[in-house]
């Protein structure tokens, strides 16, 4: 299980955002996506997850191996914490939710309605969902938003555990996650707007100017 991206171009709203993205992630490895706001981190992750089509280039990955987590928590406010987790465990045919509950210390919140949780608690529940997916590749978009430092450490521990089980992770974040072994990839050089276009490279434009 590995993730290879070759010369990938991503689009958002019909406009190319990133071009020529190339990287490779091996099992047990984490890749941290860095880049300024609007660089295309979310677009890249959504393209990896198959939500957005790639404009060009290829993603080499086995089918149904990617678990995606976005900006939204994806929780149902009217359902309890346990019901929310059990639902995703059922969808992903996971054996149980106990490991996920322990990893994010949700034991005491199990019977609370998700709508009554604090923002940080919701995020923990949303991250616990990644564990019940049982998928090898985690694509996570700003997973630590609204988490306190204790829970950022819990998240880092969960990622380390996932990596040591042979999983891999692609995480977009602006903070230091406490994953010293993780590789960082700055996506700013791939931004479509950064690439200078030389008119003489374009046959149509070149003809016009002649």
């Amino acid at each position: 299980m590995s993730l290879s991206v070759e010369n990938l171009s991503c689009t958002r709203g019909g406009l190319p955002v990133l071009t020529g993205v190339t990287f490779h992630v091996d099992p047990g490895e984490a890749l941290i996506l860095r880049g300024p706001n609007g660089a295309g981190k979310t677009t890249l992750l959504r393209t990896l997850a198959g939500l957005a089509p790639a404009l060009f280039g290829g993603i080499a990955v086995s089918e149904d191996s990617i678990a995606y987590s976005g900006h939204a928590d994806g929780l149902k406010a009217q359902l309890s914490v346990a019901e929310n987790l059990r639902f995703w465990a059922d969808v992903f045919r996971a054996p149980g939710i106990d490991a996920a509950v322990d990893a994010f210390d949700l034991g005491e919140l199990m019977d609370r309605r998700a709508g009554n949780l604090s923002a940080g608690q919701k995020r923990r529940l949303s991250l616990a969902r990644m564990l019940v997916t049982g998928r090898a590749i985690w694509c996570m978009d700003e997973p630590t938003v609204s988490l306190d430092s204790e829970n950022v450490a819990r998240f880092a521990a969960a990622v380390k555990q996932h990596l040591s089980n042979g999983g891999l992770a692609v995480i977009a974040t602006h903070i230091d996650l406490g994953l010293p072994e993780a590789r960082a990839l700055d996506i700013a050089p791939f931004m479509a707007s950064q690439i200078e276009t030389d008119p003489s490279d374009d046959p149509f434009l070149a003809e016009d100017t002649l």
Binding site: A67, Y68, S69
Partner: protein
């Protein structure tokens, strides 16, 4: 898939889930009709099948815009799209959940409203049969409309404009079954055509809805 159905059903019956709104709307619209048309029982008998069918159709429409919109807003639609469940199955389960929470209660309430509208005794069986067989088509077609308009602010009105014309064949045959039932003439032919519409809609619409969802999720 069973998990998704159970989740949607329990969300519908919990606080703010909207279960019963369609049914209450159906009851009120139908009960208002005699006030508007007048208490002449022979007039009511003539219009009863059509009114009950149009009431059911509008009641179905009421809860359609929530079908995917809620999952879209809280992000779970994206997560479902990246899950092992195919989007076609998600759309099919959503249609089924919509029918169980909206269409089925309408079928159950129709006999009571038939009395209000002075439906003759021989018409009850055909009215219930036509609603039971026809309303799944309304949910299936509505799923496609809901998928097309997901993510649009105030998509509900656009949804109505898109879906109501698609409801015309179902309404035609459904009301025809109920009307012929009232008259005592042969209602089996339109009922078979209605069943055909329901089968075709249930088979095709989940695929159309999934295609629309994929485009809207980009």
């Amino acid at each position: 898939m069973k998990g998704l159905l159970i989740r949607d059903l329990s969300l519908a019956v919990r606080a703010g889930g909207g279960f019963g709104l369609g049914l209450a709307f159906f009851l009120i619209v139908t009960i208002l009709m005699p006030f508007g048309i007048g208490p002449n029982t022979s007039t009511l008998t003539i219009v009863a099948p059509g009114i009950l069918w149009i009431g059911a159709l509008l009641a179905c429409l009421l809860s359609l815009d929530r079908m995917f919109a809620l999952d879209w807003e809280d992000g779970s639609l994206e997560l479902l799209a990246t899950s092992p469940l195919p989007l076609e199955a998600v759309a099919g389960v959503k249609a089924l959940a919509h029918w169980l929470t909206t269409g089925l209660p309408l079928v159950a309430a129709a006999p009571v409203l038939g009395i209000v509208l002075n439906l003759p005794p021989q018409g009850f069986f055909w009215l219930i049969a036509s609603l039971a067989i026809g309303t799944p088509a309304l949910s299936a077609i509505g799923t496609f409309g809901a998928a097309l308009t997901v993510g649009l602010k105030r998509g509900g009105l656009l949804l109505s404009l898109l879906v109501l014309p698609l409801y015309v064949p179902t309404l035609l045959f459904g009301a025809e079954v109920a009307r012929r039932g009232v008259e005592g003439s042969d209602a089996a032919t339109p009922l078979v055509l209605l069943a055909g519409l329901t089968l075709a809609a249930s088979a095709a619409m989940p695929f159309a809805a999934a295609a629309a969802l994929r485009v809207n999720l980009r």
